[in-house]
């Protein structure tokens, strides 16, 4: 620590200034501004002169708003299904790719592609594949003998699972690569010890690999939960929240409220609820990391 004398020069401020000015103007002020708006009935057509302070009215409306609850329910369902499925598939892929295959890098690059692809392009292809009458998926299912294949994106029951499938598909490569990095940190001696104890490959996986990857898993769970509460692109393009409210999720409902119905005060208050939820999840991560670091 270079804590010499407490004398401050002017240069550090020049270093920090470009970033800090932008930070204040484009992040800090909007965040505070957003909190302010969330207690008003602001919309862009009324302007500020006709806007009134409504106190907690937006939050009361929210708790009575059936669509908000449906969006929350769908979002929780999306999170609860996509994350475990993605993690289980990725951990298996990572273990197999780790020293047990040829062409590891080529495979890794291929499965990573959905992660860097534009959400719009992705949604467009999947819409074509999901087309109920002519799409490849249903034609394939019919050829396999399924007489009444799902209507996918246009079907109340299947629209959300379809969105989930795309979400899982997008995240697999990223999660696998992170798990592969995590595997590098597991000492070979643990496996040798397990082999001496006569453990099978499956037992090694369950009793050595999975527990040793718990920090990686925790990191992935936290970041994926945060990301899944902001899922927007696939929903907005593929289903627009429909049919009915079958695929309405938080970020989409916030967008629709603010920019289609112009209820900006209401949108801001819902966004703040989202922020508080994300903040909570992050705090949980910090606490866990602190606790875990002190164990070493």
């Amino acid at each position: 620590m270079e804590r010499r004398k407490k004398k401050y020069n002017w240069e550090p401020y020049v270093f920090i200034a470009p970033n800090f000015i932008g930070f204040i103007v484009f992040i800090l002020l909007p965040v505070l501004f957003s909190l302010g708006i969330s207690f008003t009935d602001f919309d862009i057509f009324k302007g500020f002169s006709h806007t009134s302070f409504v106190g907690l009215e937006n939050f009361k409306t929210m708790f009575a708003d059936e669509w908000f609850w449906v969006a929350l329910k769908n979002n929780i369902l999306y999170t609860a299904v996509t994350i475990p499925v993605t993690l289980v598939i990725s951990i298996v892929l990572a273990v197999v790719l780790n020293n047990k295959t040829y062409c590891t890098n080529a495979i890794r690059v291929m499965i990573f592609i959905p992660y860097i692809a534009s959400i719009v392009a992705i949604s467009v292809v999947w819409m074509m594949l999901f087309n109920p009458s002519q799409g490849l998926i249903n034609q394939f299912l019919i050829a396999l003998g399924v007489s009444n294949p799902p209507g996918w994106l246009g079907d109340m029951q299947w629209a959300l699972p379809a969105i989930m499938m795309v979400g899982i598909w997008m995240g697999l490569g990223y999660n696998t690569v992170i798990y592969m990095a995590g595997l590098q940190g597991i000492s070979e001696s643990l496996y040798e010890a397990a082999q001496i104890d006569g453990a099978s490959k499956w037992q090694e996986f369950i009793y050595v690999t999975v527990p040793m990857l718990r920090n990686t898993t925790f990191f992935l769970v936290v970041t994926s939960v945060i990301a899944s509460f902001q899922v927007f692109g696939t929903v907005n393009i593929m289903t627009n929240g429909g049919p009915g409210n079958a695929t309405t999720v938080l970020a989409h409902y916030i967008y629709v409220s603010g920019f289609r119905y112009y209820k900006m005060g209401y949108a801001a208050s819902m966004a703040w609820v989202l922020l508080i939820a994300i903040f909570g999840v992050t705090l949980l991560q910090w606490k866990y990391q602190k606790k875990h670091e002190s164990n070493f």
Binding site: E11, V31, I107, M110, I119, V124, Q230, Y255, A271
Partner: protein, 278 residues
């Protein structure tokens, strides 16, 4: 024993190759359909090659639309390039100051940056929308560029890197009378290439694929980036023109995929480096 192990390795490789092909299949199919006439893209069983494949869809999408995908492409390149260069500039300077220079409230300020890293775009979009209207940059490319010149995550990544740089190097520069800016530019920044490349890659991917911000801040279709250009094209074309839509989607996707394949090692490292802390 040795040959049995090799056989297992070969079988696993084949299985994973099939998995990987299934995963990239939507992109392959997109590419195939982008060359086909409309009446052939919903054929079953599907054909990967047909004698009727041509560049007609691309010609239509690139040259016969108004605005054309060339315009969207240009807007995307401008926005991405300016935002990426700008953010490297501001975050490397600020990251260095947070890591190695002393100033008042440094650590409190950095804490504030950390906290705002988790603010989702949904919180910022309403106030930014109003702000941009008042600033007169709503419906200009500046609305996409300006707020992206300052990424707290970029600052965070640069700071983490600069913390590892030995302070002796900086002290030596001071002894040589280089001055704070000379030290940063001549001694420290050249060491930071890995961190800079991470920041460049992360921001390149995010800006190129950005969808929600242009959806909200742009209304003039001449200013659209590839993502919103593509969605507005779909809205107009409708699903009677899926072959054109596939060509348009390929145009939007190909540059990113090519850049990714060329620099895949750096891309995968950069995009996943957020996870390797502590």
């Amino acid at each position: 024993m040795q040959s049995k192990r090799k056989l297992i390795k070969l079988i696993l490789t084949l299985i994973l190759m099939v998995v990987a092909l299934v995963i990239v299949f939507p992109f392959i199919w997109m590419l195939v359909c982008s060359f086909k006439p409309l009446n052939e893209i919903y054929e079953f069983p599907p054909r990967f090659f047909s004698p009727n494949m041509s560049f007609d869809n691309y010609k239509e999408v690139l040259f016969n639309q108004n605005p054309s995908f060339m315009t969207y492409f240009k807007n995307t390149v401008i926005t991405t390039a300016v935002a990426v260069i700008g953010t490297v500039f501001t975050s490397s300077m600020a990251g260095y100051a947070f890591a190695k220079l002393n100033f008042k409230y440094r650590d409190q300020l950095f804490m504030l940056y950390l906290v705002t890293m988790m603010v989702p775009f949904q919180v910022l979009m309403v106030p930014q929308f109003i702000q941009f209207k008042y600033m007169g940059i709503f419906n200009t490319l500046w609305a996409l560029i300006l707020p992206r010149l300052f990424t707290p995550l970029g600052t965070f990544l640069m700071r983490q890197f600069f913390l590892e740089v030995p302070t002796e190097i900086i002290e030596a520069g001071r002894v040589d009378g280089l001055g704070e800016f000379g030290i940063f530019y001549k001694l420290v920044l050249p060491l930071a290439k890995p961190a800079v490349s991470t920041v460049v890659i992360l921001n390149f991917v995010w800006r190129w694929n950005e969808y929600e911000a242009p959806l909200i801040f742009l209304t003039d279709s001449k200013l659209f980036t590839l993502t919103v250009g593509l969605t507005s094209f779909i809205d107009e074309a409708g699903f009677a023109q899926d072959n054109l839509i596939m060509a348009a989607a390929t145009v939007a996707l190909i540059p990113m995929i090519l850049v990714f394949l060329i620099g895949q090692k750096y891309f995968i490292e950069g995009l996943t480096s957020g996870s390797v802390k502590g």
